[in-house]
Symmetry: D2
Subunit: 426 residues, 4 copies
């Protein structure tokens, strides 16, 4: 299943007039206010978010999983799916692999396929939260933090192997999400677990190519329900600092305690030059892994406001690895990802409309009402025409969900792959 340029061209024809009308009107309004519309559209076009390979099939909970149909069952098919997303949205130009689920059998063929679809290999992910069939040691009681040296070594070696795989594909960063922790008080010695983790990460760090980054994810709970070794940004940063200049903190939106102010975390990490990556999703209760922007779109905008600020004002911080990390329990995974990509573009576009000079002046004057007016003024703007334009400029479709449906993508995938395929993942 591939979406052709002709299909897209034909599809766009129908909506073009209305799009142009709306864009022209909006651009007129924005230009009057001093915005450089072309520059905003160009930034939107450039913004690319990685799709994780495990998000292309249906997700589930501990209570069960309801299959979707036509899921990709090989790495090739996963990349095909990302290709479909990218051809429609033009913002999904990267894939993030998960090892051992995605070990390529033929590296050259995989790279060629990805190249042909204009897809890069972004951060690669290791897995030490599950036992593999042939594994000598079990991660039941932890991996990088385990009290057993043999288990730690197995986990370290796995990460080193993952780096090698990523290196062959052109990845430039390794993301470590460590599920290690404890389910009950007393189970862990916090200090030992932390020091073991630090030492293990240092060993992994030593195997990192010079132009790579190590991204250390944090999470307060789940799958461990009493403590997690890397419970928050403070712990992640401490460990990153303990590794070296190429180690960074990775923020996943769903990995916070209730009511956390995530935008402040993002801002301070950028100030320190230590924000390395960002995982998008949304949630109401815990790490719900819902579609980006489906629950708290204003919070997402506020976070983007800080990210934009950092991108413009914090040269000490590197370029970020952006990725969607959601689970698709009841929606078609590809439709769900399209909705996420749109929500990300929307938040980014609105953040780009914030007049940073005006805001700074209002902040200096402690004009709190004005500060709010400025942020809300940007947020209340309907930026959909700008996003459509950004897509059109690079060959995408005006309305990706609509196009996906009118192209019968899922039906085609089922025809090709059958109904009862199951993608690797959660």
């Amino acid at each position: 299943m591939k979406v052709s340029k002709e299909q897209i061209f034909e599809y766009n024809k129908k909506g073009l007039e209305n799009h142009t009308e709306k864009l022209d009107f909006l651009a007129g309004q924005l230009t009057k206010k001093g915005h450089d519309v072309a520059s905003i559209v160009s930034k939107l076009s450039e913004f690319q978010v990685a799709i994780p390979s495990w998000a292309l099939g249906a997700g589930g909970t501990r209570f069960g999983r309801f299959s979707h149909f036509g899921e990709p069952s090989t790495l090739e098919q996963k990349i095909d799916d990302v290709g479909v997303l990218h051809s429609l949205t033009q913002t999904a130009g990267a894939v993030s692999l998960h090892i051992p689920w995605d070990v390529p059998s033929d590296y050259a063929a995989i790279k060629e396929k990805a190249d042909s679809l204009n897809i890069k290999f972004d951060a690669i992910n290791s897995n030490t939260f599950q036992d593999q069939k042939d594994a000598k040691e079990s991660y039941k009681f932890g991996s990088l933090s385990n009290t057993s040296q043999a288990i730690r070594e197995q986990a370290i070696q796995h990460n080193l192997d993952v780096i090698k795989i990523g290196d062959k594909l052109g990845s430039k960063s390794l993301t470590v999400w460590l599920a290690d922790g404890s389910c009950f008080p007393g189970q862990n010695n916090f200090q030992t677990a932390f020091q073991n983790t630090q030492n293990s990460l240092i060993d992994i760090y030593k195997g990192l190519p010079d132009d790579w980054k190590l991204l250390i994810e944090y999470k307060p709970f789940e799958p461990n329900f009493y403590s997690t070794v890397i419970q928050d940004w403070g712990a992640s940063l401490m460990l990153a600092n303990g590794c070296g200049d190429k180690a960074f903190t990775l923020v996943d939106l769903g990995h916070h305690l209730p009511n956390s102010n995530i935008e402040q975390i993002v801002s301070i990490l950028q100030l320190k030059g230590k924000l390395g990556g960002f995982h998008f999703n949304d949630s109401k209760y815990g790490d719900d892994d819902l579609t980006v922007g489906s629950i708290k779109p204003y919070a997402l905008f506020l976070i983007f406001n800080e990210l934009v600020y950092g991108m413009e004002n914090n040269p000490q911080n590197p370029d970020l690895a952006w990725m969607i990390d959601a689970s698709h329990n009841i929606k078609d995974p590809l439709e769900d990802l399209i909705q996420s990509l749109e929500a990300i573009q929307e938040a980014y576009a609105k953040a780009l409309l914030v007049d940073q000079n005006l805001l700074r002046a209002a902040q200096e004057a402690n004009d709190v009402v004005k500060c709010q007016e400025i942020l809300q003024g940007a947020y209340r703007t309907d930026v959909r025409p700008l996003i459509e334009k950004a897509r059109l400029n690079t060959g995408g479709v005006i309305s990706p969900i609509n196009a996906y449906r009118s192209f019968n993508v899922r039906e085609e995938l089922i025809k090709e792959r059958g109904r009862n395929t199951v993608a690797t993942g959660l």
Copy 2:
């Protein structure tokens, strides 16, 4: 301080052209999609929210309070302030009094003043969470739920007195917010406290005029930090049912545990015909009493989506008493209230854009992606021109915050009242 029609006329002249341009464009787009723009604008014009008399001065926390200036120190001045709000926004056509802070000395004069400003007296509020100077009994350990009959009787009598005051002014409902509860395990017998409360409410209910409603508010914590007698909607509803047909539950947005799904509560209460009132504010952590829409505007929209549904589909539910219940710790209270009123209108307007038929069809088909598209499609629309139009139609200003500032309202109030006035309230 009064804002004159001439001022408003002159002010609107400047912005009218741009407003009309935006409205025309938006109305065109909406009409194409099948919306009846005039009807939406008319509903927006009709929607009136009560301003609580205690919200016209600066609020504070237990750590202190920073005064604003020119605060109203009499009931007359409070009504003047609401008059200013209403003349600008045309959506603040009611005031909600709090007794004993607002006992009128001259009822006829107060009513005349309110009439002249087109302001109604909405739900009236009792206060049994603080001791009054001349009070015989103390509410330190509760009022309507107290183990002491004398204390309960004093609290009941106070509520009956409040009804009488409200009756003279034209109010049609009494709001009871009961702070009663406990700070420590064991302090209260939950069952005794609940039954005392039920009996006290029944005694108050007996004193209710036939055309009045009793609105019972709930709140999980604060000022009591272990338990609150009316901790949630379930307890409130039970008590309302125990009183009779004129008793209803009142929902305050900030009175919920973290992550509550408030829109579902609102919906089920309407289904049962028992949602009587609604207090607007916003919050990130607890009962933060921030400006409406300043933290979670999408949640507010989702709530309005249910409210609109109920207004259209639940004739068993009465008209609601709408009120802003926020605290203004660092903003000019009047500016803060204007921002709240705008956020309410915005959420309402967007909810009116939800195509309920399409939504119902998508729900029936379990097309979750489509359901989300429909809601987000409405939410992403920039409805500001509609709100401006609704204001213009009834004599308000295009941009209330901007007008408030250009009319130098606060400066005038300070001139009239002095800097160091303090309004009664929290």
Copy 3:
């Protein structure tokens, strides 16, 4: 694997002297304070908690599952496991089955086995949160609340079938945990979902034998992450009231939003005669399903304090169905259950030590400090000798965990069943 009376007799011999010494001392102290020690011990002996059949194997999370060994793979083996628990603790005299996981092939044989182990069949559980292999309809978008009549009917019929199975075994109540809800705003019409649920429950209720109870569980989230149809006790109670006198609310400790005051819910439900069942577990973040008492033992004590109060003062409330509902992700399930049973007995024993007359007097006098002293005085008492005595009186062991290990129970089970068995469950 069965634990024999002889094993127990021999085991107890060793610890008896020290036990007696501690019991005598404690009994002396308690008697001096006016407690009737024999009566407390007798109440502890009588208190029996059902073991759910699905809790005898290892649980997991969406991220994976680490097997334990020697898990029961048939209903017979599950009952054997409960038999082991009961022989050691003498407080696990019931089992709670889950259909379709536990449909007996030979009812007479199963009943005989349970009888021989002194185990009753307590509340039986239906499952409409997963699809069964041969099912015509899918519960992906809900069961009792589904918009499709055919799906609702399948779910109703399943519950009616479950009642029949339970009836043959001697169960007297059906527990309905309804996972139905939505993952995204707009997905559900709250009112339709609620009404469908009410109607479906009424249909199930009609099939309930006269001496049965319908227990309606509530839960705020998971597996649905935006809304759950029966989100809290208020919704559950409304539905129970809509069914009739034999329908009750069931409280599961882990099914609450952060910071909920569960003891107050329990108390008010008993006041209204509507608390039907109780599921024990513990949690720090969400529905973590950890060992009872492992995280918040004082909260458990406070809840038991209300339960004891209700049992003594609320004849309007029926006897409760008690059950452990925990998941055993990293502990031996049987050891985990023993620790839970001990924690329950401990909380119950401490609650029995609260002097209700003194407490009532202190409450009446608003002597908050004294109220706390009374509760903490009971809680700080080391009641382990009382629990040991209660077990010894009915044939159990002094120290169940220790005995379990010294009898090599797990090793025996592995010998009998093999290592790689997997129990049905989550």
Copy 4:
């Protein structure tokens, strides 16, 4: 009001026999298990907690305050109150002053009084969250983080003044609790606020005597309800590291988001040698400032388990400044403090009963059940006789609350001071 040695002696006579009986029995049991009872008792005796001067009067909420009676209205009277607490409990041998509420008029006299009561001056606290009458600049929009240099300088100077006052009294540390933050998105530039804070703290640090410590407190929210500059331990630690070796993080139990694992924070900070102080209280919802141990005593025990571990294993971490930081809204403040002191001693005593060697072995073996048994075994022990003994050894009373009441302390204080005194504080 002073409690005399004779009063104490007479009081203790009555309870001594029963105390001795219980202690002997417990000591026998503990000794059998290998515990060194004398050493535990001695550690309990040595453990001293500072009483904050502002906690000796009734506290309140933004909704009001109910006075207690006989509150201390001068610094002398406050120290008298601490003297009473210390004479009864022998664990309150320090006071923590708050400037400007407690500026001594006569340093020599104040020191002499404190000396005579055996009370030390522990960490001294600055206040930049309220405006003082004669202040030139307002802290409405922040102090150390303010965008205005003049305001920052005033706040820095205040802290330097506080150091000087503390120095004259023998204090050795300054605690900075910074309320700075924002109530609305956009109000603050997070990075500017953070950098201003860092720079201000460095300026204060420069004024610190060589043998002093700077303790930096964190808090996620309140009085600011959108963001707080020092929102968590990660931010506090970053700032402390930015100051130097004498700067440390201070943990207040109530200053965390829901469900935080505080014991892990405490443990990791000790590992890094950066835990400087600890504020005790308890809470169910937010920063409720309830009596220590009144809501989550097991969590307190778990925290003490880490503190004890750190005191024994982390020489890199300094001695901690211990303080109670609770608010007394409905209890007699002195009784409330006594209950807090007892809860602290209880948690400490139980933590001292944890067999660290056994625990470590069980952790190494991943025997999670055993780990829990070890912690719960210690926690379930009734340690009250040990605490009584610790008090008796140093001249305190067996039962402080009981003694306080039988000595009629409050009545005496009212006689001396009158009913309507009001202590400075919140």
